[in-house]
Structure formats: C-alpha cells, structure tokens
C-alpha cells in the first residue's frame, strides 16, 4: 500500500470526531478522561445533535471539558451539576442534556443533588468518572477510595473506622425508581471502549424517551493520583477497583 492508497478516503479506518477541537489536553498521560471525552464527541457527531446538546461540567479534573468539546456548556459549582441539568432539561425538553462528573463531585459534595435528580427521574444522562481519588486537587481521598488505598489525605491507606466505607453510589442510584439505565463501564481496552461508547449513546438516547435518568459510571484510572504508570494503573484498576465496582448493567429498563 503506497501513500496515495493510505490517504484515499475509501481506505479511511479512523477519523477524529469534529466535535472535539484541537485544544491541547491538560489531562495526564494514561488518564481516562480523554477517551471518554472522545466518545461523547463521537456520539454527538454520529447522532447529529451538536446543536441540541448542552453539557454540564463539574468541578474537578473534568472542569475543562468545555475546552475540548465544541458544544454549549455550563460550568457548575462543585457537586451541583445535576441541579443545573434539571433546570436546563425542564426548560429545554427537546435538548440532549448531560452532566460530566467525577467521584468527589457526584458522590461527596453533590450527593443530595445527584440522588434527587435521579429520584425525580430527570431525563438527563449522567457520565460519572470514578477513579477513586481527587485528581484535580492533588490526590486526596474520595468517597469511592478503596479500603486501604493510599491518598494524600489517607497516607496510610483508607481506614474504615476513621473514614467510613467506599461509597458505591451507582448501586444506590440503581435502587431509585427514577432511574432507567444504570451501568458500570471502563475504557482501558479497545473492547471496553466500544462497550462504553454504546452505553453512553444509550444514555443519550434515553434522555429523549421520557424514561428517567441514565447513569454511566466509567471506572477509571488516575495514574498521577495513584502514582503508577498508565499500564500499571490499568492492571491495578482491574485487580482492585473492579471487585468493588463490578462491570456491567445494574439496571436497564
């Protein structure tokens, strides 16, 4: 195959989504955020909903999501993204409204807004990045930090009597009558990336079907916060995060 064959449109095997712009990413090497951003961009492009999509960015590493995806965004106060999304969707019911939140944002400071938005069955998609740590502020303990897992505020490992249990909020949200689709995915292999994309797309589609709230948890790595190489992070995630946060659908109605 020569160069002219390679650049022949008929032989195109991969194309970067036009919904993602060329802004250099601030995410660390090996971080899951970039992959999930790309998936959202691809879905928005393939569903042709760029003019109908409004994203709600969190506080945390994902705060700059608005720098990378060329859609309208609102940046929320810490934890309040589901409240913003509620209002946007109620006032603009024909738009695709999604939140993009980390574990600290969604499962600690924003627990009330998360649970009540889901319990009302708001027709929104919640993309939940769970890496078990506060990435943006430098690796502090999160509600989802595993038992014994080290962080800058649990230097000897999470201690259950002191810090309580890891909060499996997605399992909790699946119990609520307002949720229609609750799933746990990851993006550490080609196969899981494809599955995660289908899950996110389904969550986006659900938001127009008046079925209730969809939550896609992406169990993710934070190689900087975990102080591991990206490859080691993936292995560590599979060995340690997956037993606590098992992959698959928790609810799909």
């Amino acid at each position: 195959m020569n160069l002219s064959d390679i650049i022949n449109p008929a032989n195109l095997v991969y194309e970067k989504t036009t919904v993602m712009n060329d802004t250099p990413m601030h995410y660390c090497p090996g971080c899951s955020h970039g992959v999930v951003h790309k998936l959202i961009g691809e879905i928005v492009q393939e569903m042709d909903i760029q003019d109908k999509t409004i994203g709600i960015a969190p506080v945390g590493c994902g705060v700059f999501a608005y720098n990378y995806l060329d859609i309208d965004w609102q940046q929320a106060a810490h934890g309040r993204a589901p409240a913003l999304a509620t209002a946007v969707k109620r006032l603009l019911p024909d738009r695709y409204v999604f939140t993009y939140q980390g574990d600290g944002d969604l499962a600690a400071i924003g627990t009330a807004e998360t649970i009540h938005a889901c319990n009302r069955g708001e027709n929104i998609a919640i993309i939940f990045i769970n890496n078990g740590i506060y990435g943006m502020t430098g690796g502090q303990m999160a509600p989802t930090t595993l038992n014994g897992m080290k962080s800058s505020t649990s230097p000897n490992g999470r201690d259950i009597p002191t810090n309580g249990y890891p909060l499996n909020i997605t399992t909790l949200l699946a119990q609520l009558q307002g949720t229609c689709y609750v799933t746990r995915q990851s993006v550490h292999t080609v196969a899981t990336v494809r599955k995660a994309k289908k899950a996110i797309q389904k969550a986006f589609e659900n938001s127009m079907l008046n079925k209730g709230t969809s939550i896609v948890e992406i169990v993710s790595t934070c190689s900087s916060g975990w102080k591991m190489t990206p490859a080691d992070s993936n292995d560590w995630m599979v060995d340690n995060m997956f037993p606590e946060y098992p992959m698959g659908d928790l609810k799909n109605i």
């Binding site: 760029q50 003019d51 999509t53 409004i54 309208d72 309040r80 509620t86 209002a87 006032l91």
Partner: protein
Amino acid sequence: MKGNEAVAHAAIRCGCDGYFGYPITPQSEILETLTELEPWKTTGMVVMQVESETASINMVYGAAGCGKRAMTSSSSPGISLMQEGISYLAGAELPCVIVNVMRGGPGLGTIQPSQADYFQTVKGGGHGDYKMITLAPASVQEMADHTVLAFDLAFKYRTPAMVLADGIIGQMMEKVVLPPFVPRRTDEEIIAECPWATLGKPADRKPNVINSLRLEAADMEKLNLALQSRYREIEKEEVRFEEFNCDDADYIIVAFGITARICQKTVELARAEGIKAGLLRPITLFPFPVNQLKEYAKRTKGMLTVEMSAGQMVEDVRLAVNGKVPVEYYGRMGGIVPAPDEVLHALKDKLINSTVEE
C-alpha cells in the same frame, strides 16, 4: 392579596420561565400560590419544589444560563445557604431574581420579620467582589412591581437582582394592581437578547460556555474589572428612592421596606409637634441613594436610620454623609417591629435633645 402571593402572580405575568424553591416561613405562599395557579398549563412556566435552597439557586443558574427568566425565593436561613450559588451567578454574569422575605436571625432565629440581612445582601454575602441589584419593597404593590423590575434590571446588566422584603410585607394583605401579561420569550427572542445563552450550538457560532472560572490571574482581574465597571454604571443609572416631607426638613429619617411605612407615621407625629422631620426611603439598597443623602447633609441637622436590625444601613448613610451631620440609628431586633411613637422618642433623644445640649 398577600405580598408573597403578589410575587407569584407578578412572576407568571412578566414571562418568568422557571421558579425553583424550597419551603420556608414566612415566604412559602410564593411556592404555594405558584403550584395552585399551575402556570405550566398556561404560560408554560416551570415550577419546581426541590430538595434544598442549594439545589434551587443552582437550578436558577442552569435556567439563567439558557437565557431564561429564572427565579427563586426564600427567607434568611435559606438565603444564607444560597450564597455560594449567588456568587457563581454573579461571576458567570447571569441575570436572575431572588426574593428574600427576611426573618430574624442569626441561626434558625425566628419566623418574625427582620431586616438584618442588609449587610449580607448589599455587601456581598458570598465570596469574591460582587454586587447584587437590591430592591426593597414597602407594600404589596411593590412586591409585584419589584418582581418585574428586578427581572428587567437583571437582564439589562447581566447580574442577579434581589427583592429584599421582610415577613410583614410578605404576609400583609393590601390591594394590588397586577402587572400586564407579557408572554414568555421564544428561543429566537432569547438568542437575540442573550447571545451568550446555552441553547445548543448551531454550526455558525462558537460554543457558548457559562462559567466563572478564570485560571489565569490576568483573566480573572479582567472579569472583575468588567463587573466593577458595570456596578459603577448601575450606581449611576439605577438609584431609586422616595421622599416624604424632606424639602424643609431639619431631620431626615432614613428607612426602607416596612420600617419606612412606620416612619412615615413618625414624621406626621413629629410635624404635629412642630418638629420638621422628613423621610427618605431608599427603594434600591444597591445602588444606594448616596448623592441624595449628601445633598440633605448640607441642609439638615441630623439623620436617623430606623432598621429592624442592630444597625446596618446606618453605616452606608454615615459613609454618604461623611461626618457632615450626626447620623444615629434606632432599631429593634429578633422580630420586634418598632412603633411610630417609639421612633419619635428616639429621634428626640438621639438627635434633637442631644443637639440642644451641644
């Protein structure tokens, strides 16, 4: 009708798109009236009772970010809980209306009326340098009128606006002429008025981002300077006040809201005794009627602020007067409402008799 009910009626009539609230005495009639009137069946206005004041103010943020006319209401403890959101709204330059029907504090306090949230409102209760347009209604009529005016000013300046009432104004019943019906704006009208609104990005424009984050110090200072210049413009253009018997007054009482109504009677009592008293009622607390007070400082013997607080607005009157004449304070706290003769006594005691002694 009640002042609180007037707010609800006025909101529907002025094309409000969304109300998000949480019950708290003495303002729950706003949410109750809205749910009884069911405007979602007529104008399409969204009305939601949500899980907390934190959620309500952030829903206001989300709605306002779409260029919608959004509002919430609460009373003092609930407004305290909203301060984070108000700071974000100011930082993201979002127009919205917040109604505070004040009750006595601090803490859970009392459900009786108060004006002790003056500092919180006009000095910026949340973090950072921001101001909020503040209207102080003194009647049920003004509860309706100020709800409409607050929306107009908020959108004119892209800033949150507060209607700062108290438990009496919220609860008392008076005749009111409701504002005319204005339809809610269409998406096209919102795009024309609010090109920054997040309604979905068409192919021919860049993404709109509602945001108060500026990581670079220089960018953050630029936003601050822009906000401050807008506040200076508001101070220049939007001062509103009402005067009663001020023309020939030796003594000016300064009071807002229900306290101004009480002090009007005090002025009548004083005049009957030959004391030349007048009343200046600030209608806007931010912007404050600084220049008018400066003028009166040149030709009066003293001023008395009357407040249902420990004396908060008195500081702004003193700043305006800048030592030209004595400025004293009289007030009650914790839900006690001062009586007209009580105020007259304070006027004599603090200004007239002490001036004679000097």
